[in-house]
Amino acid sequence: RLSISSDIISTVEFNHTGELLATGDKGGRVVIFQREPESKNEPYNQGEYNVYSTFQSHEPEFDYLKSLEIEEKINKIKWLPQQNAAHSLLSTNDKTIKLWKVTERDKRPEGYNLKDEEGKLKDLSTVTSLQVPVLKPMDLMVEVTPRRIFANGHTYHVNSISVNSDCETYMSADDLRINLWHLAITDRSFNIVDIKPANMEDLTEVITASEFHPHHCNLFVYSSSKGSLRLCDMRASALCDKHSKLFEEPEDPSNRSFFSEIISSVSDVKFSHSGRYMLTRDYLTVKVWDLNMETKPIETYQVHDYLRSKLCSLYENDCIFDKFECAWNGSDSVIMTGAYNNFFRMFDRNTKRDVTLEASRESSKPRAILKPRRVCVGGKRRKDDISVDSLDFTKKILHTAWHPTENIIAIAATNNLYIFQDKVNSEMH
């Protein structure tokens, strides 16, 4: 199958019920999948996701003042909590955030008195009686309309957006600044974090990700390229340059190399559903932090430590700059993140067991069971093990998402989307 680079999936996000799944791609398109309701008539179609709507969210733009092209790639999508029959989501590229409203139309009025079926005015002499128009069913039409465009808020590249639990505001973060927006107001935003130094020569650190606390609307966290997390309280001051808490683990001196700084850069941060913990991803590990302990993470999991001796090559081929995301399951007991060779990893926090799985066409026939994979690093080699040197670094799983309540995961492997369901263990443990 010919692969087109504009098809590369750049973000994946379930909505709050898990009924809808949105993906954004490098070509600025958003595709929304909807889960089929389970029905007795077609038991095998239970809970499968089918395409619900596709639309072009962003187009490439040109900034004439700076002579720069602005990529249309969708960096992040976030769903708003549903407040009426319509669904709403925010999508962003490097510069502009857009609010989209997704509505369904499955009925249309028929039997107008003055207009005919095609909308043309009737000849009044033919109208002899009055009728009341009735709603008749029609084929489902999904309409997506842009409701707000939040432009000109960012000088640098937007890396994250996060909707506040108050459902009225959201924040957007770029490399150096974080802005707070009201969902209904597009011509103003409040700058709440600014780490741009007076002299750009003194720049040592950038913002890499940010997220609102799931329950406390005044709290948010942002991560940095130096590997630290800052928890900020918007009630403390208008400009949250002073953090309430700084989460940072001292560097292990025995692991120091030229690339220590790069691999400690946090590429993603996610609050747990409970709001008690934070999950971070850096190049080689995922870490769980307790909001009550700033000195070090409470858990650290090695994603692919066998790459530690290959950092120079990974620097050369740019893989060391890959930004992997991480995800919690609904009960915060399992964490998931992607790796290379279309592998993704899951870590069970309770049993301390971990598994490596592969997202590929061969392993993903419908209703097939995923076989755990293993990367061998010397020593005993089992059948079906993959050696480190035969890993395909062009096949990277950067974006993954976990259904909010069930054991359903969405894995983006370049331009393919895989959705895996754990039918046996549907309920969260």
Partner: protein, 184 residues
């Protein structure tokens, strides 16, 4: 000494990344370029033997060498830190004996084709050219982020290898890239 070669390789790779970043669609990626400049700065310090260069990278325990930078190993060079480990202790004097004065740096940069002052080691001829080129570029760097990127503008104007691009004090004051970043 051998770790200077790894540092040198990393410097060349980093320079290549900074060059190619210019034409990238979507504009300068601040995060990636910052990380590259930090790596470049560390590698440069080690390469020039500046104080804090080696000290920033403590000697590794005497394990089998990591399978990294394969080319260097094939050439018989020991990996980073092993020489320091062999010495037993890294001394971090305030002034490294190998630190070159600004004058010497200028002289090294000003002599195209002349090898930079280094302990002798066999290197293939094509690496000589690359080394000379890189050494003269390194000597132009300021230690700051913009100094790093300021070199790029100077280097672009002088495309021939080995040619003096610019003298350090002059380039520092130009800072064309730092202006570009602020405007960006």
């Amino acid at each position: 000494m051998e770790f200077r070669l790894e540092a040198h390789r990393i410097v060349s790779i980093s320079l290549g990344k900074i060059y190619s970043a210019r034409g990238q669609r979507g504009g300068l990626k601040l995060h990636k370029n910052l990380l590259v400049s930090l790596v470049l700065r560390s590698a440069r310090r080690v390469y020039l033997g500046e104080p804090g260069g080696e000290c920033g990278l403590p000697p590794r325990p005497r394990d089998p060498p990591p399978p990294d930078c394969e080319r260097l190993r094939r050439g018989g060079y020991r990996p980073l830190g092993s020489e320091a480990a062999a010495r037993g202790r890294v001394e971090c004097p305030a002034e490294s004996p190998r630190k070159r004065s600004a004058v010497e740096r200028g002289q090294a940069a000003g002599s195209p084709g002349k090898k930079p002052r280094r302990e002798a080691e066999p290197s293939p001829p094509q690496e000589d050219m690359e080394t000379g080129n890189v050494a003269s570029l390194i000597s132009i760097f300021g230690s700051s982020f913009s100094g790093l990127l300021g070199k790029e503008r100077g280097a672009a104007e002088a495309s021939e290898p080995g040619q003096v691009c610019c003298e350090q004090p002059v380039l520092r004051s130009l800072n064309p890239w730092s202006t570009a970043i602020v405007a960006f």
